[in-house]
């Protein structure tokens, strides 16, 4: 039966580890803004610096693939 005691200790340690991770995440501000990161991950790092003399065109391959209606959370 002592194996159960071992399991309780191990399980408790794992759970406490997750709790500590959660506390760290909250303290470091990861829960301050739960909206913008959801948008940011859908955006490419699009845009590039043009060389001098290069024409700027609207038709540069637009890499961002998003639905027509952008996500808003306001």
């Amino acid at each position: 039966m002592s194996v159960i005691v071992l399991l309780i200790v191990a399980g408790g340690a794992v759970a406490a580890g997750f709790l500590a991770a959660f506390v760290w995440a909250v303290r470091s501000g990861q829960f301050d803004d739960t909206c913008t990161p959801a948008i940011r991950m859908l955006l490419e790092d699009g845009g590039r610096r043009l060389k001098p003399g290069e024409e700027s065109q609207r038709e540069i391959e637009i890499e961002v693939e998003m639905s027509a209606e952008p996500r808003r959370c306001l």
């Binding site: 913008t36 948008i39 700027s56 609207r58 540069i60 808003r72």
Partner: protein, 816 residues
């Protein structure tokens, strides 16, 4: 002349600005790349395309922020950011190598804004990182102080069309959100709840105490896990309850805290006496669900900064002329006698005397007068007025804190917090609920007399089951959900409880300028006594002026003349020949158009210029062209859908109009408001109007926008501020509604009434659960297992019912 012809040609078709997708009206700019509503939009578009950042427009066609109202790019504007005192307000971190600042940018509104602003390093070398918080509309920037300066970063942001709001109000943006503590409490409660469940289920499954010392071990572990829940997660409930008891203002937290305390105490006693396994699982679960309810409520907050005073309306600094040339001075340091220069579209920070010969000041925001006022040299310009046309030189009369504008804020009404119906009714309900629970517990104990052990058992069981957990979830979850859903549709509430107050209003008072009528961009022009030919001459001359009324006349007559010309089958227009243009600031403009002498302006001006008497209403612009004369009334157009909205509202509400403007527009609003119209109201007049209505027993919703409404907004049962675009200046109010959404007000009010019904339904459901639990408790049959099932189930029912009902109603009742 060029301006006149381009106005005429672009007004023909409804062209949309390539940058901000606004309609290109008067003053449109057509270039090789497309049409723009103004020069500002064109320059932002050029900057973006030259950097290959076209993807900005791919995300959202209307992504751009219109530059039509921008104060124009002026390098001196951010000079104040070189001032160490001002810098320290914005900077959140600085170690000499890296500086972190937080800008509040009210114009952030979509995914494209996020994307563009986070590319800031492309525009300003030295910027290391830029991060947008879309909900709070702030931008965090990290930069290397060696490579750039705070001022240059601000200028780079402004050049993209996102004007950072740097106002005289202090330290508002950089505070860490209060929601962190709530998340931690929730995390701890959830952790304890889950683990306590693990240790409790074996016993429930076993049907009796476990053997081999395991029961003792599990019980001890449960107690250890429950202690942080009691001391940390539930601490706010105990604190609020204690304060309520001390101040004798009842709150629902009192029976809640009582129930939690009894639950914990009884469990400890049961465990130590080995009578049962205790109720620790119910205890942790209860706290966990309660905190989820709080999170619902909290989630809806933080979107808009509501608590603003007149200071946030004033600029941070002003250009002063002191010994040694012009300097930028923070407005707090302005002294009587200082000479200042205020540029067009800027706000005058203090009551001051005009040093120039004449100028135009727009007081729409502080008095509600819609027509800008002409001021002559030596006259006083009041703080809060917006300069129109050209820059003014002024001498400060009174320091900023002593201006008339500031004195608006000394009224008592701003100092006393508003009574919310929910707190009110909640307090009364909590009072008799607590009393009832204690009485029932005592009765239960007496009924088992003389069995003292059983009596204590029943009494504590009653207090445990009476703990109004589901009840206290009903209002926050319902109203919090409603608040969030209303927020996505352009109505932002200050607090979830405002939704209940909204459901109870029976009188709606509207302000006129800026509320029923839109911004000054769309104006209705009604000419009187001028033929189409003369009107065309007037239009051409008006297009030469920068005065807002002239511009409105130029744009408005454009459509008027064209329809007239089409009716009469006249020949198409030829470009006019305009000479001798002379503008007398604040009075009028004269010129010779196609050989015909034209004058536009005040009655006396036009009379003097055209040598004849002109007569007409007081609030119109006169015009003379050749032998003809007449007048033109320029009035901001009513917002789209307002008429329908007011008619819908009138079915169940008393409507009235209280305006600071003169009553020239009385006939226009007669149809909608009948006799309930009050013009020429001072801010105090508006306030006392609301007070009078309340004294009659009416519950008033005040809808207004300007500072002159601030008192009325604060006094009303619900004060709703209307904001146009995103540059929201919201005086003391309970809710902010976006101007385009004002027409949906009837739907919003109906939704608020629905929210009230859902709260009542949830109350009923949770009372049924309580009653069921109480019968068990009184019979002495409340086992830990029964409590562990009953309590979460009742909480979940209420959360599911309220959130679900509000979401379902939103899709049915609210416009998208």
């Amino acid at each position: 002349m060029v301006a006149a012809s381009s106005v005429a040609s672009t007004a023909d078709q409804r062209t949309l600005c390539r940058h901000c997708a606004d309609e290109c009206g008067a003053g449109a700019v057509v270039s090789a790349t497309g049409s723009f509503c103004c020069r500002g939009c064109e320059s932002v578009f050029t900057i973006l395309t030259s950097l290959g950042l076209d993807a900005f427009y791919a995300l959202d066609e209307s992504a751009g922020v219109s530059q039509r109202h921008a104060s124009g790019f002026d390098s001196a504007r951010f000079a104040i950011l070189d001032d160490p005192a001002v810098r320290s307000r914005l900077i959140t971190f600085d170690d000499g190598r890296l500086t972190r600042v937080t800008f509040s940018i009210p114009t952030i509104h979509c995914a494209s804004c996020v994307w563009l602003l986070e590319q800031l390093w492309r525009f300003e070398p030295g910027v290391v990182r830029a991060e947008v918080d879309l909900l709070r509309r702030v931008l965090h920037v990290e930069f290397r102080p060696g490579l750039t300066t705070l001022r240059r970063v601000a200028e780079a942001i402004a050049s993209l069309g996102y004007e950072p709001a740097i106002t005289a109000e202090e330290g508002r943006v950089s505070q860490p959100p209060a929601v962190r503590r709530l998340y931690l409490q929730l995390g701890v409660a959830g952790f304890a709840f889950g683990n306590i469940m693990l240790f409790s289920i074996p016993r429930y499954a076993n049907g009796g105490p476990l053997e081999g010392g395991f029961q003792r071990l599990f019980d001890v572990l449960n107690v250890l896990l429950a202690i942080p829940v009691l001391l940390f997660s539930a601490s706010d409930y105990f604190r609020i309850a204690w304060r309520a008891v001390r101040t004798r203002v009842m709150a629902l937290e009192v029976p809640l805290a009582l129930g939690l305390a009894v639950l914990f105490g009884r469990s400890i006693v049961d465990i130590t006496t080995s009578r049962s396994e205790g109720f620790m699982d119910s205890f942790a679960g209860l706290v966990f669900f309660l905190l989820i309810g709080r999170l619902f409520q909290q989630k809806a907050f933080d979107r808009i900064a509501f608590d603003r005073t007149f200071r946030s309306f004033l600029p941070l600094s002003v250009q002063a002329e002191r010994e040694g040339g012009p300097t930028v001075v923070p407005i707090e340091q302005l002294r009587c006698g200082d000479r200042i220069r205020v540029r067009p579209r800027e706000v005058v920070p203090a009551d001051a005397t005009l040093l120039d010969e004449a100028g135009i000041v727009d007081y729409a925001f502080i008095t509600g007068e819609q027509v800008p006022v002409a001021v002559e040299g030596g006259e006083t310009v009041r703080a809060g007025g917006r300069v129109v046309g050209r820059a003014l030189r002024l001498r400060v009369q009174r320091e900023v804190s002593h201006s008339q504008l500031a004195s608006l804020w000394t009224n008592q009404v701003f100092a006393t917090p508003k009574a919310r119906w929910l707190t009110d009714v909640g307090a009364r309900f909590a009072g008799w609920f607590t009393f009832g629970a204690i009485a029932l517990a005592a009765a239960g104990a007496l009924a088992w007399w003389p069995d003292a052990a059983m009596g204590a058992n029943v009494a504590t069981a009653v207090l445990i089951i009476a703990c109004p957990c589901a009840l206290s979830l009903a209002a926050p979850v319902t109203l919090g959900t409603a608040m969030g859903l209303l927020g996505t549709r352009g109505l932002y509430l200050k607090h979830p409880a405002v939704a209940l107050d909204l459901s109870r209003v029976d009188t709606v008072a509207f302000d006129k300028t800026g509320t029923l009528t839109g911004s000054n961009e769309d104006e209705a022009v009604e000419p009187h006594g001028l033929t189409a030919g003369a009107l065309r001459l007037v239009q051409w001359l008006a297009a030469e002026s920068v005065h807002p009324t002239s511009r409105a006349i130029a744009a408005g007559i454009g459509s008027f003349v064209r329809t007239g010309a089409e009716l009469h089958g006249s020949s198409p227009m030829l470009p006019p020949h305009i000479t001798d243009v002379r503008e007398d600031v604040g009075r009028g403009i004269t010129g010779i158009v196609d050989g015909c002498r034209v004058a536009i302006g005040t009655a006396s001006f036009v009379a003097a210029q055209s040598d004849r008497r002109v007569l007409g209403p007081a609030d119109v612009t006169f015009a003379a062209a050749g032998t003809e004369w007449g007048w033109i009334r320029v009035s901001p157009a009513a917002r789209a859908g307002i008429e329908r909205a007011t008619r819908l509202l009138a079915a169940a509400h008393e409507l009235c109009l209280i305006s600071g403007d003169h009553d020239g527009e009385r006939p226009r609003w007669q149809r909608l408001f009948g006799r309930r119209m009050h013009f020429r109201q001072t801010p105090d007049g508006k306030l006392s109007f609301i007070r009078t209505a309340q004294a009659r027993g009416r519950r008033v919703l005040m809808v207004g926008d300007g500072l002159n409404d601030a008192g009325a907004l604060a006094a009303a049962d619900v004060g709703m501020a209307v904001t146009d675009g995103t540059a929201c200046m919201t005086p003391a109010c309970d809710a902010v509604i976006s101007g385009q959404r004002l027409a949906d007000l009837p739907a919003f009010l109906a939704y608020a009434r629905r929210a009230k019904h859902v709260v009542i339904a949830c109350f009923a459901v949770s009372l049924i659960y309580n009653a069921a639990g109480l019968t068990l408790a009184l019979a002495g049959a409340l086992t830990p297992l029964a409590a562990a099932i009953l309590m979460p189930v009742s909480s979940l029912t209420v959360v599911g019912l309220s959130a679900g009902a509000m979401r379902w109603s939103a899709t049915r009742m609210l416009p998208v």
